[in-house]
């Protein structure tokens, strides 16, 4: 298995997100170097790898939080390499950050309204609020509660719902299951599948590689700032993944 297999590329679809030669540096340290990614519409693509592999850095560069040292990002046919973060949200990229980062001192409703900050269609925002309540009934019960008082799983639901409130075409999720109880992990991952069923494209970062492979159409494995392997979720060999995690070069 020396060359990556492209069995899942049966249909030549134009990718929604295309990343070419992405590099990001922190001062003199290059954290991500020469990453190429393609995310086709309607798919779940995940990025796995051990701590410090550069996954979160890659995602932050995609949403414009970090400047690129090299490379290009194309989204829906438009070059967004130097676009400001708020304009990327307006173009349809929503990023659900690591450790959820809900606005703890604001109510659940306010958090959701902030998710729709880039939009100005009041009527549709109201109907989207109802859609979120349908997707996460637990949030509906707590609309007036401060977000900081929610449980970890509820905060994750809120973070995802907040991301969806911008009506994105690509949902980027960074470690959505981190620190959650097992039932909550299942619930969150089921939600990811549910959202995809409704037509959403998802780019997922997960430390839990087994879950990510089960869920994803395509998996990229990162190590030391580079993509070292990619394959369809079904084809990927768990043993090989393990070797990347442990650092032994296969």
């Amino acid at each position: 298995m020396s060359a990556p297999s492209h069995a899942d590329h049966a249909l030549p679809v134009e990718p929604l997100l295309k990343v070419a030669g992405l590099a990001v540096s922190y001062g003199r340290i290059r954290a991500v170097d020469g990453v190429d990614l393609a995310v086709e519409p309607g798919r779940i693509v995940s990025l796995v790898g051990s701590n410090g592999a550069g996954k979160t850095t890659t995602l932050m560069a995609l949403s414009g939080l970090l400047p690129l040292s090299a490379g290009h990002i194309t989204f829906a046919g438009e070059d967004i390499t130097t676009l400001a973060p708020d304009l990327r949200v307006a173009r349809g990229i929503a990023h659900v950050p690591e450790r959820r980062r809900v606005f703890a001192g604001m109510s659940v409703r306010e958090n959701l309204m902030l998710g729709a900050y880039s939009r100005d269609d009041a009527v549709d925002i109201a109907s989207d609020l109802e859609r979120m309540v349908a997707l996460f009934p637990r949030l509906g019960e707590r609309m007036a509660q401060l977000a900081g008082t929610l449980s970890g799983g509820e905060q994750q639901m809120l973070a995802i719902a907040r991301g969806l409130m911008s009506r994105p075409s690509l949902l980027i999720m960074d470690e959505p299951t981190m620190g959650l109880a097992p039932q909550m992990i299942d619930l969150i991952l089921d939600t990811v599948l549910e959202i995809r069923k409704q037509g959403m494209t998802v780019l997922l970062v997960e430390q839990n590689a087994v879950e990510a492979m089960r869920l994803s159409d395509h998996v990229y494995i990162m190590r030391l700032g580079r993509i070292v392997h990619e394959d369809s979720g079904a084809n990927i060999d768990p043993e090989r993944v393990k070797s990347f995690y442990l650092g032994a070069d296969a």
Binding site: D86, R101, G105, Y117
Partner: protein, 685 residues
């Protein structure tokens, strides 16, 4: 009862104005965690702009300029909009590049902006008061409440305006989409960015609103007291900041409450305390210090804001700057690194250079200037101990300097000469006794002042020390029997050694140089000891230092004591060198100037304070030759401010930062004490 009622009414008017300005501080602090000292100046500009727009013509830059002569409401609106725009511009130029810089950088920049704006206003409108034009409502007869309390119609307008503005802002922050975005940005800038909030624009909006509030407060203040002046914003700005901190900075109801309390307390204090009007400025600061001690987060503040000051005050290199600029700095760094490696030899060379200059400079004029350089360098070194090495921002350092200067002046002039008729020349040795004595006294003061600040961090600490400094200044002005009040003390004898007068400029220069060698040597010894390592540990991360078992409280007090000692020690020489002191010598501006010198030269370095002093004082003199500066002397300060802002943006760590002391173990570089050899060299010379 009537008297009380009138005082309460006056207090409410003043409180309403403080509250409006406090909102400016609190709003911007809430969103970007910046204490924007420049609001005091935007307050002043609000007053000037309104007055100018109301007049038929105004003298600007010495020329009569026709003005529209609007009525008060129109002029006020215009002034608020203009000031708001200026606030946004200031944020864009001076603060936004520093959004992720260490916390000291934007604070210093805001002080620099303040200096620039004040000097510009003085250049444009002149040093005299501008009479505030009378609005027709102000000519109506006053309203009389309960037969005895007089309130002018304008007083009522002031209170109603303040109330409406604050309720409006509260509703805006709570309900509107932009208000929600402000709160979101305040809580978590990264998450706010990720949901699509253009955080920079939201911050700009906060600056616009804050500046508008400052302008509104300023114009109401000027309206109430009938004039606008270029330094009218200074004290009300500090008071408003005090009010914001009092109420809990970041909270708008808190700012309103703090402003009201401050206004009422000041009015009542001025009315009931003996000689109250003179002491009323101290009252607010005593209130501030007391409250911060008992409740560091303020009345309505949330406690976690207080820990926001975590992390090192000092910064690393900036990412900004053109290639040639960075290349230039790289060359400076190389040179400094080389001389730092040379260590004691470099110090020796510097000292030899100073001696040579002292011997060769022919003019007494320039020798006096160079003596000032050394004095300011020493004072800045003292401040550097606490700010640069221990990382505690101290805006009350001048108090220690004042203690030293006053001790020796009172002893020599007011007690021995005036009361006992002792000629200063007969007791020349007292000066040498006073040096360490004043040092110890100031160190004692520093420990007393330092103790209540131990629980505070970052900006709160700075504000509390500022309060102390102002209290000492107000005491110096008003305790006539002790200090001779605003007249100051004259006839302080020049230094004298065994009957040999050292009054000549050249002798004074060498006297100062000898003291500087002592000061630098002592500081170097302290910094190179375990005490210095503990300081740097506290500076870099207080929590981590505590976790590693450093008794941070004790070492912070050591830092206060050391810094106070230097302040008192140098203060003695300062008094004898100037032969005249008054409370004006020890204003907050002097403290800020010293802080700027340290930052200019490089925090946490031994040479930095002297480099900063040299650049500044020589610049002041050279600038006098520029024709533009001759016409407008205030622009020198504006230029200094601009230099500082540029420096902060492009080189936040200071010019000589690469000479920052690397605290290796003492055994690692034997004999690497720059001060040690310098001390011996002095004996040889």
């Amino acid at each position: 009862m009537d008297y009380l009622g009138q005082l309460l009414a006056n207090g409410l008017v003043l409180g309403a104005i403080y509250a409006l300005a406090a909102v400016a501080f609190t709003l911007v602090y809430g969103v970007v965690r910046l204490v924007n000292f420049a609001f005091g100046e935007l307050f002043m500009l609000g007053a000037f702009l309104t007055a100018s727009l109301m007049l038929p013509e105004v003298r600007l830059l010495g020329m009569i300029v026709p003005m529209p002569g609007f009525s008060l409401p129109v002029a006020a609106l215009g002034a608020i909009v203009l000031t708001g725009a200026l606030g946004v511009l200031v944020d864009r130029i001076a603060y936004r590049p520093l959004r992720n810089a260490p916390r000291l950088a934007p604070l210093i920049t805001s002080i620099a902006v303040s200096v620039v704006l004040q000097s510009l206003a003085q250049t444009i409108w002149g040093a005299e008061e501008l009479r505030f034009p009378e609005f027709h409502l102000a000519t109506l007869p006053p309203v009389v409440l309960f037969d005895s309390i007089y309130l002018s119609v304008m007083d009522l307008v002031v209170m109603a305006t303040a109330l409406a503005a604050m309720l409006g802002l509260s509703a805006f922050i709570a309900r509107s989409s932009l208000g929600r975005a402000m709160r979101a940005s305040a809580e978590d800038q990264m998450a706010a960015t990720l949901v699509g909030i253009p955080v920079n624009r939201v911050v700009a909006a906060a600056f616009a609103i804050g500046s508008g509030f400052a302008a509104l407060a300023g114009l109401l203040y000027a309206q109430t007291y009938g004039f606008a002046h270029s330094n009218m914003g200074f004290l009300p700005g500090l008071k408003a900041l005090t009010a914001a901190v009092l109420g809990g900075i970041g909270s708008i109801p808190g700012a309103a409450l703090g402003g009201l309390i401050l206004g009422l307390v000041e009015a009542l204090g001025a009315g009931y305390l003996p000689n109250g009007t003179a002491w009323k400025d101290a009252i607010s600061f005593v209130l501030l210090v007391g409250l911060l001690y008992l409740r560091p987060q303020g009345l309505l503040g949330k406690p976690e804001l207080n820990s926001a000051g975590r992390g090192s005050l000092l910064g690393g290199a900036s990412e900004f700057g053109a290639a040639w600029l960075r290349a230039g700095f790289a060359k400076v760094d190389g040179l400094l690194a080389k001389s730092a490696a040379a260590g004691p030899r470099a110090a020796l060379v510097l000292l030899a250079l100073a001696v040579l200059v002292g011997l060769l400079v022919p003019s007494d004029y320039w020798l006096r200037i160079l003596t000032m350089v050394v004095i300011y360098g020493m004072l800045a070194s003292g401040l550097n101990v606490i700010v640069g090495f221990a990382g505690l921002l101290d805006l009350g350092f001048v108090a220690f300097w004042a203690v030293g200067s006053y001790l020796t002046s009172i002893l020599f002039v007011l007690v021995l000469k005036d009361q006992f008729g002792v000629a200063p020349a007969d007791i020349w040795w007292l000066l040498y006794l006073n040096l360490p004595l004043a040092g110890l006294l100031a160190a004692g003061f520093a420990v007393i002042l330092g103790t209540p600040t131990l629980r505070l961090r970052g900006d709160y600490l700075a504000i509390m020390t500022l309060g102390f400094g102002e209290i000492v200044r107000v005491v110096a002005i008003n305790w006539m029997d002790l200090t001779n009040g605003p007249m100051g003390i004259r006839g302080i004898p020049a230094p004298n050694l065994f009957g040999i007068a050292l009054g000549s400029p050249r002798a004074q220069f060498f006297f100062a140089l000898a003291l500087a060698v002592l000061v630098v040597f002592a500081i170097a010894r302290l910094v190179r000891s375990y005490v210095g390592r503990a300081w740097v540990a506290i500076r870099e991360d207080e929590e981590a230092a505590e976790a590693m078992g450093v008794p941070t409280a004790r070492y912070k007090l050591y830092a206060y004591a050391a810094s106070g000692f230097v302040g008192g020690f140098v203060g003695v020489f300062y008094a004898h060198s100037q032969q005249y002191i008054s409370p004006l010598n020890f204003s907050l501006f002097e403290n800020i100037l010293l802080l700027m010198l340290v930052v200019l030269g490089g925090l946490g370095t031994f040479v930095g304070p002297f480099v900063g002093a040299l650049i500044w004082i020589v610049f002041l003199q050279l600038a006098l030759d520029l024709p533009f500066v001759q016409a407008y002397p205030e622009t020198r300060f504006a230029l200094l401010g601009v230099v500082l802002i540029v420096l902060m943006v492009f080189r936040p760590q200071g010019l000589a930062a690469s000479a920052r002391v690397a605290l290796t173990m003492p055994g690692a570089r034997p004999g690497a004490l720059p001060g040690a050899r310098a001390g011996r060299a002095k004996e040889a010379a």
